[in-house]
Symmetry: C2
Subunit: 344 residues, 2 copies
């Protein structure tokens, strides 16, 4: 029997040039997707609001570039409505990549079943791609060691607010860069950052030096752009630059050029600059998630969330994030968590 | 009894701004250096002519910046004239860092005794810092694997002409970038480069793509500057950029800015960009030198040398190198090898 319900989506209305704005998006109501035999039909409960969506609107990344009319991509937490007999059971909850829409159809092999405990928003945050990104950035790429100074840009963001805490849990001193004093107060008072710097400060370079008196062992870069040029002279022998994100680039029609002296500095101090994708580390996701759950249970991870209500609030949430307005994990809720999930 | 001989040196006459020229150097005759009890007095046999000398004239690197009147730094191969009783024996031959001069005094602990076999020029080349730099760049930093494509810039230089051969010996396909067709013919006919590209070609970007049909796994960068921007789109997933030198920067008063999209590309392809100094790997020098000797003995390493005669030829040799005029190991001979060194 055909499904006569309709599906609401947020698509890209036009390609942004410069600052992201609401008119770059539009809502559409389309027929429910058909489900091939090896796919699951998902009812989305939460969709993430993350810089990757902005990146895809701008140009090709590890994903192809969006064209107008295409769905905004995102991680989702969803309930399985229907699927193949050997797939996740209807009524169970899974994580996947499905975009800003009420319903989605994805290959059954592409969703990840979730343990039936804890609030689902955590599954988009410290138990989702943001947590895994912070974890592998700090441990696999930076290989942070006790006693080091770890400088995090975009430190109040979905990844940044976790990266600093993971660095601290590894025995390092975390220093945060964010775009406001308000955010920096939260970083220091709630998230264990030892010091913070406001990237909009006129004395940014001096502030940075004062916040990192022993230099910087690891620069965990969530924003890209010219901050690197200020950080480079502070990096000490065998320092690492973790290229995690370039949020500062997306709203510029032409990103700023890289530092003139990058290679000279990389050589003189034997520095390593490395990019990564969380998917590279898939074989170690379960191990990482166990570790993150253990840390959270032990009170070593403070989770900050900003959950908006209703699919139509997603564009404004992303516009606000790009303008520097969010703290912690940003997501949009489409439906309540299913009943009966005990606390984690 | 005081030593009344005099010592001839080449010093920096003035700091270069732009292209290096002979008037940036001058010869000086100074009293023989005093030898502290824990130092050795060396009679230099060969001095290296390497981009590091140009770098030190330009600004601080891992060494402080030279000031006018200071000795041009270099590696040397030298005979020990006098030293402490527990140091290397007078008459023995050592390698060290002593600069462009006839005699030098350095701490006995800072020289490296050499095995009494083989022509001494090899000790500045594939058995010296150039060989070690190529070796650790290819193996420790790039971790080249069989079947990969290794692109080398400055491929005809002291390090580059060895790096390609080491990559090939590791089972990789070596592609060279140099500044002339003449050099490229040598790279392909004598050094086993599978393909070469002339960096002065108007179709450089297309030539590069054609020379690397499967993309680039490793970019071994001896020159810095804008070539990186052309190479970045060719790097494949998990590619590595070995920052070995920035020879193209030294003759510019203001080096060109880095690529705008560096971080984006590092992230999208999980690339690693890493600088190093050969001194970082000192604990593994002996192992590397054994390996290099074995390869040379087995005919796997072809050595190209350009040895000039007399200390006063050093400035012109460096000026010519910076203008792109040399192939292989460049050095200046001050004295003949001591008699009685059997072939290696």
């Amino acid at each position: 029997m055909p499904d006569h319900r309709m599906n609401r989506q947020i698509v890209m209305a036009e390609r942004p040039s410069g600052e992201l704005a609401l008119h770059h998006f539009r809502a559409e109501v389309v027929p429910m997707p058909e489900r091939p035999a090896d796919a699951v039909l998902l009812r989305n409960i939460l969709v993430s609001v993350a810089p990757g969506a902005r990146a895809a609107m701008q140009g090709p990344t590890h994903r192809p570039q969006l064209v107008p009319g295409e769905l905004i991509p995102s991680s989702v937490i969803a309930e399985v409505v229907a699927g193949p007999p050997d797939g996740p059971a209807p009524g169970s909850v899974v994580a996947g990549t499905a975009g800003w829409q009420e319903y989605s159809v994805v290959p059954a092999s592409a969703v990840r079943p979730l343990e039936p405990v804890g609030p689902l928003s955590q599954q988009l945050g410290f138990l989702g791609l943001n947590g895994l990104t912070a974890y592998f950035g700090i441990h696999a790429i930076a290989q942070v060691r006790a006693g080091e100074t770890v400088l995090v840009s975009g430190a109040a963001g979905g990844v940044g607010h976790l990266a600093g805490q993971l660095a601290r849990a590894a025995g390092a001193r975390a220093v945060g860069i964010s775009g406001s004093d308000d955010k920096n107060r939260i970083l220091e008072s709630k998230l264990g950052y030892a010091a913070t710097v406001d990237r909009r400060s006129a004395s940014f370079q001096d502030d940075l030096r004062a916040a990192c008196p022993d230099g910087v062992n690891v620069y965990f870069d969530n924003v890209g752009g010219p901050i690197l040029e200020s950080v480079l002279p502070l990096l000490v022998k065998h320092g690492r630059i973790v290229c995690c994100g370039v949020t500062s680039h997306y709203d510029l029609s032409d990103p700023p050029p890289g530092p003139r002296d990058l290679a000279v500095r990389l050589i003189a101090k034997s520095l390593r600059m490395e990019g990564f994708l969380v998917a590279d580390h898939r074989p170690r996701w379960d191990e990482a998630l166990r570790d993150l759950r253990r840390m959270h249970a032990a009170g070593e991870l403070t989770i900050l969330e900003d959950i908006r209500d209703g699919l139509d609030s997603a564009p404004a949430a992303l516009v606000g994030m790009m303008a520097g307005g969010n703290v912690g994990q940003l997501a949009v809720r489409l439906a309540q968590d299913p009943p009966g999930r005990p606390p984690a």
